[in-house]
């Protein structure tokens, strides 16, 4: 069969998705409508990587107050630019070339204002730009031969992991942090385990003492009349 699967192989396609936004300039006509910001919601490859060779189309489902709330983008760049004043959730469906029936579902909360709980990195060249971006990967277990071959061919396009934000260094740093945390947790668990064993033994001893005492009292009858 042409579609033979590569056993034991898992291929990961990295994507970044999110939105950029900037305040509308003072002379913009949209201000009349009450809009405050211009924003672009997008699905891209990290560091400008080309994802079109495996992404067929991306469907963005905007808030119903927008005309034609369902925007289907079938050619790169897979993004939608609009103006508005509100923040809302956008549902994104990424359709791959080889899997027409199974789109990947993403949800992204459109942000126009910087959220309080997150550290904001300022890019001095674009002081008014706010970018809320997430990194994720589309994973393929046991891809077909055809897909795998094409994937291998395009690997350089898929993985230019040398950008400012998403790069190998960042990945390694995060992995190291997690490893350190894991070691610490295991150490604490070991300590706790030791403590539990000690206490367990102590408890067994005390219980034995209690049982012996109760047995004695049971034979003689406690003077207080307790059986």
């Amino acid at each position: 069969m042409a579609t033979r699967r590569k056993k034991g192989i898992q291929a990961a396609l990295p994507i970044v998705y999110g939105n950029e936004t900037s305040k509308l300039p003072d002379d913009a006509p949209e201000l009349q409508l009450g809009h405050t910001h211009q924003w672009t919601v997008y699905v891209r490859g990290p560091n400008g990587a080309d994802i079109a060779h495996y992404v067929r189309k991306v469907v963005f489902r905007l808030h119903e107050s927008f005309t034609n709330a369902v925007r289907t983008i079938e050619a790169p760049p897979f993004e939608v630019t609009e103006t508005g004043w509100g923040e809302f959730e956008i549902v994104i469906a990424v359709h791959l070339h080889d899997f027409p029936e199974r789109p990947i579902k993403l949800t992204h909360m459109l942000r126009l204002f910087p959220p309080e709980d997150q550290a904001v990195i300022d890019d001095p060249s674009r002081p008014d730009l706010l970018v809320m971006e997430r990194y994720d990967e589309i994973v393929l277990n046991e891809p077909t031969e055809a897909f795998y071959d094409q994937f291998l061919q395009n690997i350089s396009k898929t993985y230019p992991m040398t950008g400012p934000v998403w790069n190998r260094g960042a990945e390694v740093t995060e992995a190291e942090m997690l490893d350190r945390a894991n070691i610490e947790v295991l150490r604490q668990m070991e300590e706790l385990r030791r403590r539990i064993m000690e206490k367990d033994q102590g408890l067994a001893r005390v219980k034995a003492e209690l049982a012996a005492g109760a047995a004695m009292q049971g034979v003689l009858g406690d003077s207080a009349g307790r059986l």
Partner: protein, 416 residues
């Protein structure tokens, strides 16, 4: 109009050949004689009055049951019986008194009819010699022992009665019902074993049954008294405590089981080799080098594990934390210097794997902490109880010393 009249009194002359003159009523004149005779026969056979017969019709009832009274068998003798006033003896009597009664002349002169009912208990009868040899006891005189055995014989080992008839000898210690029982059992056992020093198994069993534990009996009766004299409140309290105890035991058993399970589960992960593996860069290289492919390809993981073919978003496969544990889990994460989020920042395969590992480890750590707390409180509670008991035991000993010396002597004997 005419129809009504026709109905009420059909006119023989009305139109239609169908109109027949009404059939004459079945007259009884012609067959009268036959019927009368048949009726009389039926009447005689059934034995019922003529009115009932008329009610029935000519058909006799299908089954006619008459009950026969179950009378005593009437024994009819041809001639009268002779009775005589006769003296008789009973083997049950020891004095040979010959009373008299009416007896049938044909009755034989054997033993009295009811003498076989005079059953006696086999109370041992010892000789003086036997008493000298092995039945003596400091707190029982010969006379007392004899008196006891006589009473036992007389009253068929009914000890409440025997005890009631018992007269304490002034110079000897007072005997209560348990003492009497004990002495009886002792005497019987010793006499039998003296007479039969080599018993066979069945006899041995019979001998073994001659046991009587005075103290246990006293305790048992005391417990029964206590049980009997409980108030309703005490009964309710006891039931409640019992239910509570069962619950505690259940909980404890469950806890012990969980503890065992967690401990055994953890002992698997305690390989020192595992710690060495946590050198990140080396590990990543090793992971990559485990690929079967000659070159290390970015973004491709080669595993020998079972993979279900499929397409998914990596972050969608992250395991979730129960909302109850969520807060605690995030707190621990933060302590460790990781940003408290539910997904990693750069979720590549390597990072996501470590993220999941950390999550699992932290949850296990939380469970261990909970367990450690529980066992600590357990230990504290039990130590406290033990301390109380030790203190109470000291006080109880002091109290007991104030009680009667005899009881105290007994208690001390048992303790040793």
């Amino acid at each position: 109009m005419n129809g009504v009249h026709d109905m009420l009194a059909p006119d023989p002359n009305s139109a239609g050949s169908d109109a027949q003159p009404p059939a004459p009523p079945p007259s009884s004149e012609s067959s009268n004689g036959k019927r009368r005779k048949a009726e009389r026969d039926l009447q005689q056979e059934l034995g019922v009055s003529s009115e009932v017969l008329h009610l029935m019709g000519d058909i006799p009832p299908p089954i006619l049951v008459t009950s026969r009274p179950a009378l005593k068998p009437q024994i009819r003798h041809s001639r009268a019986m002779k009775w005589e006033w006769r003296p008789f003896t009973s083997s049950a009597r020891t004095d040979g008194l010959a009373l008299r009664h009416w007896a049938n002349a044909s009755e034989n002169d054997d033993d009295y009819r009811f003498s076989s009912f005079n059953k006696q208990v086999d109370v041992v009868q010892y000789t003086d010699d036997e008493y000298e040899r092995g039945l003596g006891r400091p707190d029982w005189t010969r006379e007392e022992t004899d008196q006891l055995m006589a009473l036992c014989r007389q009253f068929d080992l009914r000890f409440p009665v025997i005890y009631d008839r018992w007269e304490n000898v002034p110079s000897q210690p007072v005997k209560d019902i348990e003492d009497l029982k004990e002495r009886y059992v002792e005497v019987s056992r010793n006499v039998l074993s003296m007479r039969n020093p080599l018993p066979d198994p069945s006899q041995k069993a019979a001998l073994a049954s001659l046991q009587f534990d005075k103290f246990k009996e006293r305790e048992r009766k005391r417990h029964l008294d206590l049980l009997f004299s409980r108030t309703q409140e005490e009964v309710d309290e006891e039931a409640r405590l019992h239910a509570e105890l069962l619950q505690h035991e259940e909980r404890h058993a469950k806890l012990a089981k969980d503890r065992q399970e967690v401990i055994s589960r953890f002992y698997k992960g305690l390989d020192p080799q595992e710690f060495a593996n946590y050198n990140t860069k080396r590990r990543m290289i090793r992971e990559a080098s485990m690929n079967q492919a000659p070159t290390i390809i970015e973004g491709v993981t080669v595993t020998t594990e079972k993979l279900t073919p499929g397409l998914f978003l990596r972050s969608s496969k992250l395991s979730s934390v129960k909302p109850a544990m969520q807060a605690k889990y995030l707190a621990v994460i933060q302590e460790l210097g990781i940003r408290p989020t539910d997904r990693p920042r750069m979720g590549t395969g390597a990072v996501s794997q470590r993220f999941e590992e950390l999550k699992a480890n932290v949850l296990q750590l939380l469970e261990l902490r909970k367990m450690a707390d529980k066992i600590e409180t357990d230990l504290r509670v039990h130590s406290h109880k033990r301390d109380l008991m030790v203190a109470g035991g000291v006080a109880a000993d002091a109290k007991r010393a104030a009680e009667s010396p005899a009881v105290e002597r007994d208690r001390k004997r048992v303790r040793r």
